[in-house]
């Protein structure tokens, strides 16, 4: 076998994945070739460093934890506890909104015209004087201290 061919098969040789005949050829080559022996030795040491890792010790606690989780998983889920009969949330919110609108309509229907000294004196219409205002609204006349006759 050629030197390069040996190099290609060195890994399979190391992993005991070669047939007996080929194994013998490579073993013979390694005895005579220092370079291939060096490569093989480096792989061997790097690999054996990994092989030196012991597997974790068996643990009965681990077994119990796994079975406990499986058991919990397979138990039927409990029904959520409800506090008696309850109105759906959207109905409660809707009723609140409708009540607010109702109150707003009542307020509009019972609205009183607002008339006081400031609103008359500071009116944007100059001809809309206190007399005109008092004429339109007798209460305003009283407010300005005018009698009906004066108006």
């Amino acid at each position: 076998m050629e030197h390069q061919e040996i190099r290609e098969r060195l890994l399979a040789f190391r992993d005991m994945e070669l047939p007996e005949g080929e194994r013998r050829d490579i073993a013979f080559h390694l005895e005579t070739c220092a370079e291939c022996r060096g490569v093989f030795s480096r792989w061997e040491r790097a690999g054996s460093a990994l092989r030196r890792t012991p597997l974790p010790a068996a643990s009965e606690e681990f077994v119990s934890r796994v079975l406990g989780r499986i058991e919990a998983m397979e138990e039927p889920a409990e029904e959520p506890v409800t506090a008696g009969w309850q109105l759906p949330r959207w109905i409660v919110m809707g009723l609140g909104y409708a009540f607010g609108v109702f109150l707003m309509f009542i307020a509009i229907a019972n609205r009183q015209p607002v008339l006081n000294a400031d609103s008359v004196l500071l009116s944007e219409m100059p001809q809309h004087t206190q007399w005109a205002a008092a004429y339109e609204n007798p209460d305003a006349g009283q407010m300005f201290g005018m009698s009906k006759e004066e108006v």
Binding site: R52, T53, F62, V63
Partner: protein, 205 residues
């Protein structure tokens, strides 16, 4: 409750040793005996936990991941067709789960140079030809070394070097061809050798 697939019984009974033992237990579990699954966990826990620790480099994470693997295996026990060994089937679940965990974590590892500076002497002792004794911190140290290799390199080295699977078993565990196993293993060893080159050369002197 998982169900046994058609034809699985005939396949199992054609096997020997480990295969038949696994079949007996799987049959019990599938027929409703949940406690029988404890035998499966006992039989494979060392390999699954060892794989998770080497891949994830964190004991607590590895323990959680191993539990998840056994739960997933239990849930899909009915899908196990028996075309391969149960061990390679569970390795496959473990490998996929660890890759998922690593992707979610996106953890930053200490640089290789920093690791060498801190743990150089220990790593050197690890690659020594005839170490006198195994340091108790070896699994963590190995996991730190492996965390500097790519995921694919890591998983194939763990299966071959640490768990001693044959090429055929690795192909079944990782769901790839024999040729893919050979080429991945070659690249993985080159990557590992490249990382540890100067430590290995030190020992050559």
């Amino acid at each position: 409750m998982p169900q046994l697939p058609d034809g699985a019984a005939a396949f199992f009974m054609s096997g020997t040793g480990e295969k038949i033992k696994d079949f007996e237990v799987i049959l019990k579990v599938l027929s409703g005996n949940r406690d029988a699954y404890a035998d499966i966990v006992r039989r494979y826990q060392e390999r699954v936990r060892g794989y998770c620790l080497s891949m994830l480099a964190d004991e607590a994470l590895a323990d959680d991941a191993a539990q998840e693997v056994f739960i997933k295996a239990y849930q899909s026990l009915g899908l196990f067709k028996g075309n391969s060994l149960f061990s390679t089937w569970i390795y496959r679940i473990t490998s996929n789960h660890c890759v998922d965990v690593l992707r979610k974590l996106k953890r930053k590892t200490v640089s290789w140079e920093a690791l060498l500076e801190k743990e150089g002497e220990k790593i050197e002792a690890l690659v020594a030809v005839a170490p006198e004794k195994i340091d108790p911190g070896t699994p963590e140290l190995i996991a730190k070394i492996l965390s500097h290799l790519s995921e694919k390199t890591r998983e194939i080295l763990i299966l071959r070097e640490m768990h001693g699977l044959s090429y055929q078993e690795i192909a079944e565990s990782l769901g790839c061809s024999l040729d893919a196993v050979k080429s991945r293993l070659k690249r993985a060893r080159e990557e590992l050798e490249m990382k540890m080159r100067h430590l290995l050369e030190l020992k050559d002197v």
